[in-house]
């Protein structure tokens, strides 16, 4: 492990001012649960690690008329334990509660969870220079790909591992980003960008951007949500497939729906075809199964991950029904 320096900012302005003048490899750290793994494996060799948890006032969960504001350095455990979130945003609560392990939820932050890197074993191996690390191929495509993407592959077949991202995108959340040029607010759905945009990263942030807070719109009457995560182990695992659903019900009929999956594509994967199939329909097992089957029609599995398509169909249908149940 290459030695690095440690930055302890006293304010977000200090961070952005530092980033504006920095010329080395500077990495921002929340809980460090992902970043330290990359450093220990040698896949990154930063010159400076900046401790965002040192910035006062970045850990909060606030309610107001606009909805929910979550500070980037809020611990995932605190999000999972928040009673308002559990009541008004069930899908988000369920997603936060199944992130990694109790220890990692205490350490990890919401902002860090949204900015984590993929777990692809080729990407995480320091000796393997894949497309994502400036190489000229994706080793998973013809290699071992049991856990890899079934949607949106091509330049990179890794899957995006975040649990919070699908849940927050289903809720139409926005992310507030600070930079030396000031602040901007981006829909979280547009925060992630597929490999074709830039295979080296999973989001549109520049090296001078800092995720500051997440805003979740206030729930409307009839809104319900759920998050279903299928793991190979019973606990403490990344999703093989996960699905976040937000439903708006008018009586028993679905007036609006958003479905976003984790673990199936290089970025959180929205299922517009399934949403279209469900809108206006009455909630039923067959409607949920048909919508999931329609979404699965776009799947392009690799040699070893065809099983994920079946799991995908089951998880999506279950998530729709769980959300409808309320």
């Amino acid at each position: 492990m290459k030695a690095f320096q440690f930055g302890s900012p006293k304010s977000l302005e200090q961070v952005t001012a530092y980033l504006a003048g920095a010329d080395g490899d500077v990495r921002l750290m929340g809980g460090g649960t992902d970043l330290l793994g990359e450093i220990k494996e040698g896949t990154i060799q930063p010159d400076v690690v900046v401790d965002l948890k040192a910035v006062p006032g970045l850990a909060f969960i606030r309610r107001d008329a606009d909805g929910l504001a979550i500070g980037a350095c809020t611990a995932v455990a605190d999000l999972a334990a928040d009673p308002d979130v559990a009541r008004d945003y069930r899908g988000l609560h369920e997603a936060a509660a199944v992130v990694a392990s109790p220890q990692l939820r205490n350490m990890g932050t919401v902002g860090g969870n949204l900015c984590q890197r993929p777990r692809c074993w080729y990407f995480r191996d320091a000796a393997t220079v894949c497309n994502k690390k400036g190489g000229s191929q994706c080793f998973a495509e013809q290699g071992r790909n049991k856990y890899h993407a079934v949607f949106g592959g091509g330049l990179c077949w890794s899957v995006y591992p975040s649990d919070l991202a699908p849940a927050l995108i289903a809720l139409e959340s926005k992310v507030v980003v600070a930079s030396p040029q000031g602040e901007r607010t981006i829909p979280l759905a547009e925060f992630y960008a597929p490999p074709i945009v830039n295979v080296r990263k999973e989001n549109i942030l520049s090296r001078q951007d800092v995720v500051k807070e997440i805003r979740v719109p206030a729930p409307k009457k009839g809104d319900r949500g759920a998050y279903v995560k299928f793991m190979e182990r019973g606990a403490w695992d990344f999703a093989v497939v996960s699905a976040a659903v937000k439903l708006t019900l008018a009586g028993n009929s679905i007036s609006d729906v958003r479905i976003v999956c984790g673990g199936v594509a290089p970025v959180p994967w929205r299922l517009k075809a399934a949403e279209d199939a469900l809108r206006g329909r009455t909630v039923s097992e067959s409607a949920a199964a048909q919508a999931a089957a329609r979404a699965a029609g776009d799947a392009r599995p690799l040699a070893e991950n065809g099983y994920k398509v079946d799991i995908f169909k089951a998880v999506v249908a279950r998530a729709v029904l769980a959300a409808a149940k309320g």
Partner: protein
């Protein structure tokens, strides 16, 4: 690299040398030097503190300690190698197995995956700090009574995860116990007896 950063770095290196040379006394000198040299920092945003190492203050098992740590050093390294507290084990060293679990601010974390500099000022509880004299903590006693270990290597981590769980949830259901220690692995596969031990400890603590 711009000038302010270079200047800051120079201070950091000196701070590093003084810290290494003077131990706890050096630490006091460092903060006074930093305070005197950069009064402007207090007024405006100023440049961010960037250091290669630092003397941090921790309260470990109720005892206040100052210890010099490098930027890349983990809490586990500090505990095991500098404070001779070897209860927390280095096993996977990548935040996956739980063998290094300690409480930071009352909450279980993986010490192997926590940078020491990030928790400057924190309160740490390790397995060595649980017993009161010869009287074991109820969780420790329950692990003995229920055979909650086989080879014992994962046990300090499981005990600390359990103590953290029972602080947050004094009356966990069986499923809550399973989820509560799901961040810890037992290679011997002794999970059923571990769950029984946590349940028994909860019962003992409830009775007082």
């Amino acid at each position: 690299m711009d000038t302010p950063r270079k200047k800051k770095k120079a201070v950091s290196r000196r701070a590093f040398l003084q810290t290494m040379g003077g131990g706890a006394v050096g630490a006091g000198v460092v903060s006074r030097v930093l305070g005197k040299e950069m009064p402007a920092l207090q007024a405006g945003p100023g440049p961010m503190d960037v250091v290669s190492s630092k003397t941090i203050s921790l309260t470990v098992n109720g005892r206040k300690v100052k210890v010099a740590a490098e930027a890349g050093e983990t809490l586990l390294q500090v505990l095991r190698e500098k404070l001779q507290l070897t209860g927390a084990k280095r096993v996977c060293n990548r935040g996956e197995c739980g063998g290094c679990t300690v409480l930071v601010g009352g909450k279980p974390v993986y010490a192997c995956h926590t940078l020491a500099l990030q928790i400057d000022g924190a309160e740490i509880l390790t397995v060595e700090g649980l017993a009161e004299g010869d009287k074991l903590h109820p969780v420790q006693q329950a692990f003995i009574d229920k055979d909650g270990y086989q080879c014992g290597f994962c046990t300090p981590g499981f005990i600390m995860a359990s103590v953290g769980l029972l602080k947050k949830n004094p009356q966990p259901t069986f499923d809550e116990i399973r989820a509560g220690v799901s961040g810890n692995l037992c290679r011997c596969g002794n999970y059923q007896k571990i769950y029984a031990a946590v349940g028994a400890a909860a019962e003992t603590m409830r009775r007082g």
